[in-house]
Symmetry: C2
Subunit: 314 residues, 2 copies
């Protein structure tokens, strides 16, 4: 059956991040025929070989040997497969579609989409999120919109029509991980259970950090002192750490005068699964209007747009 | 000679932190006769034995077997030698002097000073800094003062006369260490040389983070993107990371309405060595008036006051 399915595939779309690999087989109508997910991100692939990993997944789906492949994400970084460069801010998103790097391969047509760079006093970079934006944007909206894309390095992006006019990365996910594993708080959060966006300690931390982001690293320390003095449990400790980092991020993402003054449209939250739940709860607690767009669907739609542009009318 | 010196010692004063041990032999007039420093902090001592480590240092200085010992710091924590409890905020500093825990020892009189705890909505704890405050305060000042005590977990303390009315810990030093060693920025700061407070990247980061503390984790990310896009070197990367964390801390330490409105006295900076240099440069860059008090001298003076109270008129 896989064989029959794969024969109708028009291209493979790959979101290749630092620590994750996702591949979809997609037909000419844009339907997903099959998919693969693994932890073989750029870090793994830089050692094992990008081509080896890609071909093993394509073979597992019995994909034709000449099926073209469109890729976004860290595979296009300097330390990735082939450097795909950056489109500079102000960055018209359609330019991303036409600026893919070509991977030299004897059989397949393989392309990697570029990232977006912001040069100047607030240097910043993204790889992969530009493709999510391509899939998430509503071409009928011509005004200014603010996108929040949570993750290891959350991105807050200003879009004016089809143009990225500015963005900022926040180290929220990585700091949560670092502090949980390596800091004095590791004992406080050990054995924490998964909490959801309704956890009262999470919501209180969201509000406290949003209102006083300057106190963020102090509020993080109260995870430890709350355990010592108030018997804060491990799950509450993790919820307070997460809420503090997310609340401070939202304050930072909204800090720009541009956002506060002209934001009349809801924030566009591009997220999936648990992150979507936590950020939705945070925005609701802060009375910030928002719409959620599924991150998986967004990146797949963005890759499909790129495939159409790059490989022609498949 | 050591023997002659040690014979005139009235007591030993010990500052026993999480990762450091410092001991001074002090005579009846408060003069330092000799000293020892090592990395045998609470973490090491919890395994090797507190008594073993203390006695080895006293023996190295040929201290009399009945010399009394006054201790401050993490040796009094629950996971330390003997739990010395906390004096609660609002905490009159003289109460610290009279609340030492007794270590059961067959020969010596050994006491450990308590810490200070802030209970309620902003739980916080200190151990060791209360003794620095004892040594740093000016008993002739009756008004409100703000103390900044930089370190692994920097403390900002409000003192009204002799009473600690509130304080906040910021994870500045620990975050610098964590991010430098374990985050995506580890490559950017690798091989950084020691920079001083005059480094222009440090000063620019101080100002940026102080003005927009909500953007702190974004500014930290620009260490990485600055390396990618602007060729920021390793020393500049470390300077930007340090300046961002310290600038955000100062914004947080000053954030309380109390500080902004009523702070007419200079900030009292209790610090030594490189930390004193960096924070002095930061305060100067932000036009914040300050006086520096040497942290080593402050803790020694505080321990001497405690020895006089606890051991009597030695």
């Amino acid at each position: 059956m896989t064989n029959l399915i794969s024969k109708s595939a028009a291209y493979a779309a790959v979101d290749w991040g630092t620590s994750s690999f996702r591949l979809w087989l997609i037909d000419a109508e844009g339907n997903v025929l099959d998919e693969r997910r693994s932890g073989e991100g750029m870090t793994t692939a830089a050692k094992a070989g990008f081509s080896t990993i890609l071909e093993s997944h394509l073979m597992a789906l019995s994909a034709p040997t000449n099926l073209p492949v469109i890729i976004c994400g860290m595979a296009g970084a300097r330390q990735g497969w082939v450097e795909a460069g950056y489109v500079d801010v102000p960055a018209a998103l359609p330019t991303v579609l036409t600026s893919a790097a070509v991977v030299s391969d004897p059989v397949r047509d393989i392309r990697i989409l570029p990232g977006i760079a912001q040069r100047g006093s607030a240097p910043d970079v993204m790889r992969g999120e530009e493709t999510q934006l391509l899939g998430a944007r509503d071409p009928s909206v011509s005004g200014e919109q603010l996108f929040c894309m949570p993750g290891t390095h959350s991105k807050w992006v200003k879009l004016s029509g089809e143009t990225v006019t500015g963005f900022a990365s926040f180290m929220t996910g990585e700091l949560f991980d670092l502090i949980s594993k390596h800091s004095i708080l590791q004992h406080a959060v050990k054995d924490a259970e998964k909490f959801d966006g309704s956890h009262p300690v999470f919501l209180a931390a969201i509000k406290a950090a949003f209102e006083q982001p300057a106190r963020a690293t102090n509020l993080v320390f109260t995870v430890r002192s709350g355990q010592l003095l108030d018997g804060l449990d491990a799950t509450g400790a993790a919820a307070r750490l997460s809420g503090t980092l997310i609340g401070a991020e939202i304050a930072g993402g909204m800090a720009d005068g541009w956002q506060r003054k002209t934001l009349d449209a809801p924030i566009k939250l591009i997220a999936s699964g648990r992150l979507a739940d936590l950020y939705e709860a945070a925005f609701a607690a802060l009375d910030l209007p928002f719409n959620t767009i599924d991150a998986d669907e967004a990146v797949r739609r963005g890759l499909s747009q790129a495939a159409k542009t790059v490989f022609g009318n498949n």
